[in-house]
Structure formats: structure tokens, C-alpha cells
């Protein structure tokens, strides 16, 4: 097991253009499950590929286990990687796919079978060893890729969107299995995804990336509840955080915090007249799209999210008293878009 560290890591693909990864410094913790989360083009995969040694950094250092590995080839970094497409060797059986890293790293031959069977057993694919990759389902392929990654007991696991090729139902169970798998092997893992649900569910910590820049590093709770800037605030959460602006301040609150006034606890709250325009029924919850009536934020679009336990009767066109607790407000500087201290805000 080892800690991965990047220091001012930058990758510029075309000179003069904005870098894919810009000045990224971060440190994983021992045995941690760290998630790189960002929209497509945010540089998360490039960052991962630099750590893997598949891409050369333009500047900056990568350290694995305290050692600078910039000049080392992928095989010398003792890392394992699972690709989005799994990249199984199509002409080899599952057994030979899993045994390939052992052969390549000159592990004594008599240990191969034992190690392959151990890895296959861990992932429950012991019966598939004689098959070729094309004879496997998506979920089985993913497990073979994981088995191939784990078989030589790497110092670090790198996973590049390993669930994105699975259908929705399989994805949920595969996610659970991956979490379980990480707990049982305890290897430091870096996981790249654009899916915030995956990131929140699996990550010990989440690194939110945007345009090659780290916007925030924190636990899922931290990045969701205390976003460092407006990008994190609006990228995480679906639907995204509501933002109201006045002079140089932006105030944000989550749709699930903007509720019928009688349901908001405490006396310190901000109240609005809210006209519902459209209701999205999602079973366990309802999402209301509407706008503010009156006040200086007249006709500003606001989203509210009601759980199914809350009273019904918010038809399109109806107007209600809605409010948000002051404790749920988040303040941002409008220019820098960074988080700032709460300050007086002229609501009416």
C-alpha cells in the first residue's frame, strides 16, 4: 500500500492552449478511496493517466510511496489500472488475462495458478477461467478486469470510470461490490467518474475538478454541504443549488432546503412567495420548478425538492409560502465565485 501525491502537476497538450490539468497538488491517504469527480473535459482522466505513467506531465511531480516516479514506466510504478473499456486481451482466456501481469512481472510460474485462482475467487469468477472475453457479460468482464488488476497485489489501484459501460441496474450492484472489494483489500484506490452519485456513495474523499483545476477536496459531506465555490455548488446535487445574486454576493441553498414555510424548523428563516410552474414527479420525491413572487428577486427561477412524505397539493400555477433556514444558506463572492462568510443580505 502506498500514498500517491501530485505536486503542481500540469499537462498541456498543445502549446499556448489551456492545460488539460493545471497545477494540481493533492495527497491521498493510506488505503483511501479517493474519487476524481468532474464533468467531461475536466482533466480527471488525464490526471489519472499521468499517475499511471501513460501520459508525461508537462511540469510537476508525481510521488508514489514518497518516491518521485515521473521518470518511471508504468510497470515500475507498481500500480494497477482498470480501464473504462476494461481492455481485456481478446485473444486470451480469462485465466491467461489474469495471469498476464504475473508472467510480465516474472512471478515464479508455480505460483501462477494459485494466485489466479485467489483473484478469481475473490471476484466470484472462478468458473469462467476457460472462457474468452467475448463470451462474457459486461459485469463479468468488469470483474475479470478487476481480477487482473488485483492479482499482483499492486500498491495503488487506478479505476477509470469502470462502471460506465454497465446498465443502470448492474451499475448499482457493481458499485456495492466495488466498495466491498475495496474494504476487503484495503489498497489505496483512485477512482475517476463523472457520476456524482458514484462519487458520493463510494469516495472516502472526493476531488472535484473543473477545467483541469482542483476546485475542492473533501469528504462527500463536505463537498455537498460546504461547497468551496459556485462550480462545486452547482455541479454537485441534482437538481443543482439555487443561487440568488445581489451586488457582489451570491447566496445559495439546496432545493431540498427550500420547503413549504411550515415545514422549515426554527425561527431564523428566509421567506418567499413561491409560484409553482411545473412539477416533476419522481416517485420518492417531487421536484418543483417555479419562481419567486414579489421582493427584489421577483420572477427569479427557483427549484424545490419535496420528499414523498411531505404534503401534496403543489399544483402548477399555485402560489405558496416557502422558506429556507438561514443555517442552510451558503454565501459566495460574485467575482471570485469562492465561498465567503455569511453576511447581511437584503432579502426584500
Amino acid at each position: 500500500m502506498a500514498v500517491v501525491e501530485t505536486r503542481n502537476l500540469t499537462k498541456v497538450f498543445k502549446e499556448g492552449e489551456l492545460g488539460a490539468v493545471n497545477d494540481v497538488s493533492l495527497v491521498t491517504r493510506e488505503g483511501e478511496f479517493l474519487v476524481f469527480l468532474g464533468p467531461s473535459g475536466s482533466g480527471k482522466t488525464t490526471l489519472l493517466r499521468m499517475i499511471a505513467g501513460l501520459e508525461t506531465p508537462t511540469s510537476g511531480d508525481i510521488l508514489i510511496g514518497g518516491q518521485v516516479v515521473n521518470h518511471l514506466s508504468p510497470r515500475e510504478r507498481r500500480i494497477a489500472m482498470v480501464f473504462q473499456s476494461y481492455a481485456l486481451y481478446p485473444h486470451l482466456t480469462v485465466y491467461n488475462n489474469i495471469a498476464f501481469p504475473l508472467k510480465a512481472q516474472k512471478v515464479p510460474k508455480n505460483l501462477h495458478r494459485q494466485k489466479v485462482e485467489w483473484a478469481a475467487g475473490l471476484l466470484g469468477i472462478g468458473k469462467l477461467l476457460d472462457r474468452k472475453p467475448r463470451e462474457l457479460s459486461g459485469g463479468e468482464r468488469q470483474r475479470v478486469a478487476l481480477a487482473r488488476a488485483i492479482v499482483r497485489e499492486p500498491a495503488v489501484f487506478l479505476l477509470d470510470e469502470p462502471l460506465s459501460n454497465l446498465d443502470a441496474k448492474l451499475r448499482a450492484s457493481a458499485r456495492e461490490e466495488l466498495e466491498h472489494f475495496h474494504k476487503s483489500v484495503g489498497t489505496t484506490t483512485i477512482y475517476v467518474t463523472h457520476d456524482q452519485v458514484e462519487a458520493m456513495a463510494m469516495g472516502d474523499r472526493v476531488v472535484v475538478l473543473h477545467q483541469g483545476v482542483v476546485r475542492q477536496i473533501g469528504t462527500p459531506k463536505e463537498v455537498y454541504e460546504d461547497p468551496a465555490d459556485t462550480f462545486v455548488a452547482t455541479f454537485l446535487g441534482s437538481p443543482p443549488m439555487n443561487l440568488l445574486e445581489f451586488s457582489d454576493i451570491l447566496v445559495g441553498f439546496r432545493p431540498e432546503g427550500f420547503l413549504p414555510a411550515e415545514l422549515v424548523p426554527g425561527s431564523k428563516q428566509v421567506r418567499f412567495r413561491y409560484q409553482v410552474k411545473y412539477v416533476e414527479y419522481l416517485g420518492s420525491e417531487r421536484v418543483l420548478y417555479g419562481s419567486i413572487e414579489g421582493s427584489r428577486f421577483e420572477s427569479k427561477e427557483i427549484i424545490s425538492r419535496l420528499s414523498w412524505t411531505m404534503p401534496a397539493g403543489f399544483e402548477a400555477g399555485s402560489v405558496h409560502d416557502f422558506s429556507v433556514a438561514e443555517a442552510d444558506l451558503r454565501f459566495f463572492d460574485r467575482k471570485t465565485e469562492k465561498r465567503t462568510e455569511p453576511r447581511p443580505f437584503p432579502w426584500q
Partner: protein
Amino acid sequence: MAISRAKVKSIGAAQDPRLGAAMFGPAVLYILALIGAPFALAVFYAFSDARIGNPTMHYVGLENFRSILHSPSFRQAVQNSIVFTVCAVVIVMVSANMLSLALQKPFRGRGLVRFLLLLPFVAPVSLGTIGWKWILDSIYSVITWVLVRMHFFSPYNTPMWLGEPHLAMASVVSVHCWRLIPFATVVLLAGSGAIPKEIPEAAAIDGAGFWRTLFQIRLPMMLPITLVAVLFSTIFTFTDMTVVYILTAGGPFDSTQTLPSLAFATGIQGSDLAAGAAISLFLVPVLVAVAYFMLRIAHRAEVV
């Protein structure tokens, strides 16, 4: 949707067997006239004593084959054909593999290099070979000139590229390789381009070096397309007589005479049509075997 249905139906309505036959006809005619008829004629002549300029001919049974099998020239030609084909195909495949690997990653001027590489294949064979005839000439050879200037040879004792048996064979093989390498490279480039980028990357991460990735991942994955290249190269080489005919005309002392060039020399130049036809029939088993394997691979790799 409705439109595509209607289209499907109109194609269905066109399934008149006569129209099908009419569409198919030209191709069948072409093959019959240009391949089937000459082949039948060759078989016919091979059992006769046909000669150019002699209007009569008789059935002579296996006489032609018997005399050919006893002829030292023929045995030499079989041996030369094998040497020529095996050497050329091996050299072509190894070089084409190297080139396709080198040309895979983008670099400055790759487009130009690819274009230059293709030139030998698109240039007319005869013109290219005539150029080589001058390059390898006993007096005017530029290669010899360079070697003499570099003091590898004295000006009075230069190699006769086309005049010494082994050198002549080497020259013929080299020129043929020069022609075929571009073709094989393009085929292999297409094959290696079909390998997803992640697979060699996964191999690198799994700890495989260049050679292991090449021999255990790349080449096995490219096997079907490589076999296609091998079989095409084999056919092109085994049946080729342009290079041999222009460079050496089979000489010196039959040392570069291959089956096609011997058939031409005997049947057309030597007027012994029957013997020429019989010689050329010896190409058939090899070509049938190659065609069989090619169809099997094509079926498996689904390139046809």
C-alpha cells in the same frame, strides 16, 4: 420508417431471377473469358503437343509432364520459386511489421513518409523494375559506384549484381520486396489501427515490455489480418514474373528462373506451348492451397 419499409418492399419486388442473372452475368462472363477459358486451354494444351506455328496437335497423355519432371531447368525453377517466395514473404512481413509499428504514433511528417512509402506500389511494376535494372547494372550501377567510392570494392573487381547466381537471386528478391512492402505495410497498419489504444496501455501497466507486448498482444491480435497479408504476398510473389523477366530473364544459368518465367520462356519464347502450359499447371496446387486458407481466414476474420 414508412419510407424505408417501402424501399425494402421495392427491393423485394425486384427479386426477379432474370434480373439477378443479368446483374450477375457480366462478372461471370468476365471471369469465364479471362480466367476460365485460358485455364481450360492450359489444361488442354498440357496434354497435347501444341506448338506455336504448328496448326496440328495430338493428344500425348502425360508425356509433357514426364519430360518436364526430368528437366533440370524445371527442377531448378521449382527450387528458385520456393526460395524466391519464402525469402521475399519473410522479408516483406518483417519489414512491414516494423514500418507499421514505426508509422503508428503520430510524428512530424508522418503523412509524407506514408505517401513516399506507398509510391513503389502505385508506380507501374515494369517502370520501377527497369529503374532497378539500371541501379543494378554491371557498369553504370550507382550502388557499385557508391561502394567503390567508399572503398568497399576496387574499381576493377566490382560485384555483378545481376550476373552472379546468388547475387542475382538476392537482387530479384530485394526488388520484389521493394514493391511489396508498401502493400503489406498498409494492410498491417489497418490491422494495428484496429487494436484499441487501451490494450497496449493495459499491457504496459501490467508490466509487459515492448517485445512481450509485440509478441503476446499485438501480433496475436493482428493474426487474421497478418495472414491475409502473408497469403496475398505469397500469391503476388509466387505468380510474379515481371521482376524476374526484366531484371535477369531467369539468368544467369537459370539461377533466377521461377515457374512463371520458365513457363513464359518455354511456352511463348520457346514456342513449346504444351510444355509451357504444363509448367504453369504446377502453380495450381500451391495457389489452390493459398486460396483455400485465404477464404477460411477471411471467413473467420470477416474481412470479406
